[in-house]
Symmetry: C2
Subunit: 264 residues, 2 copies
Amino acid sequence: MAGGISTNETLNTVCFISTLIIWLNMTPDTIKVACSNCNLRELCMPMGFNPEDMQKLDEVVATRRRVKQGGMLFSSGDPFTSLYAIRTGFFKTCVSTEDGREQVTGFQMAGEIIGLDGIVSDFHSCNAVALEDADVCVMPFANVEDLSREFPVLQRHVHKIMSREIVRENGVMMLLGNMRAEERVAAFLLNLVQRLHARGFSQSEMVLRMTREEIGSYLGLKLETVSRTFSKFSEDGIIEVKQRYVRILEPDALKKIFNPQTCS
Amino acid sequence: MAGGISTNETLNTVCFISTLIIWLNMTPDTIKVACSNCNLRELCMPMGFNPEDMQKLDEVVATRRRVKQGGMLFSSGDPFTSLYAIRTGFFKTCVSTEDGREQVTGFQMAGEIIGLDGIVSDFHSCNAVALEDADVCVMPFANVEDLSREFPVLQRHVHKIMSREIVRENGVMMLLGNMRAEERVAAFLLNLVQRLHARGFSQSEMVLRMTREEIGSYLGLKLETVSRTFSKFSEDGIIEVKQRYVRILEPDALKKIFNPQTCS
DNA sequence: AATATTCTTTGATGTAAGTCAAATGAGTAC
DNA sequence: GTACTCATTTGACTTACATCAAAGAATATT
């Protein structure tokens, strides 16, 4: 596999309306609480169900939950009960040591599943913090397991989600263990814009939802190093940066920094 | 959670005979190919089955496979078919970039499961290399999924194994992103000896199965730094090192280096 | 037993990223 | 509009670890 964060994850087309809903940040009340008519379905649920099975699948989601910016969806030590599918908003997950050092372990956006860390011990081992106002589907894990036994395609889907997280973390280990600052930052930007693009957003522009310090924590760098690397890329004409706004001017140059081999 | 690699994973007692079997490196022919009378059962299988269910569970394992030292159990790009339960031997898993940089993502020993990386894409994304002659149980993933639907306790077990791997990797991210060389090496030694102890080996002595370079790759350090850190710990009277042999003289000192808070 | 090979240790030196510090810019509360 | 606060940028300097190099052990090969 390509080292670091995968930059060629493919995804079924996400229809325009779901993009609109994300942009307009519609309140959950305006949308029926059911996977069967959720526009993010293809992101967090398996595909290829007949209508009646799809309705049974709606039982996975018990409720919705809103989390304000800065709020915690769950914290380290909380009893584990549910997985969460992000409908809108943006999260970070992080672990911390007793002496207060924090490591961001991931950034999650619409359609992604969080809470998998809690399964092994029945307690969460990391914090999930909303970096903007968010809306999640609460999926009690007991429901997930019950329905997984009934629907092999859901079972397979759950396994794939967990495996994908393992593979993603392998990539982060490669980043942290082997790559230089510029490679890490390039990989981070490419991965983020790729995931946003898969959700119907621009493939060249984005507004970062996290601080330089949070990016640095994720990448094993200090915030000053992240800032300097952004400035460097900007001076080289590879990206345009204005605070949280980032535009990728030369995607190939970024890919080349991240992985010199696969680019001409 | 404590940052880095967990150092207090508990485990049901592993009976003396399994230890003996590992030590004597008995050939698989001498042992019936069945989980129901496997001495490592409590490490890789769920507990609390009645005898008839246990026999059905034997169907998970299709065959055994031997891997010589230096041999590959699977490589990046191989089609994914099975998970593997290690019976004897010691593995490393690693990912690599096109330009040849390698990142060791884990070291696995008897009773541990490898191959989870292949589920998401139906292809393996890492290499599993035997660091000593090894013997594994081949568990076709189709069998695992079929039986998981039948036995909720197996389903839960599979989920826990995957979640455990995610949590372990979170800890490694903390190590790589936040910790200094001494902390990383201390965490590594404590984690390794703890897992060996859970398998009936000494809680203070071990013979490393990997090179300094492999340890360094796992910890995001160069082999010289690993060697120097070992020498430093040795000079400080914390450990005794003779090549691959390591004896922990002051476990509390090691714990204190890894995590200053939780020790007096 | 001799030789080659691979692994480990140790020293000398280099450097990428960290640390410290100060200025600037954005966002928010009053 | 002014005063805070918090995030970001940039510069000057430091440092932990990497790199380069060479010698010494252990293991494998002949």
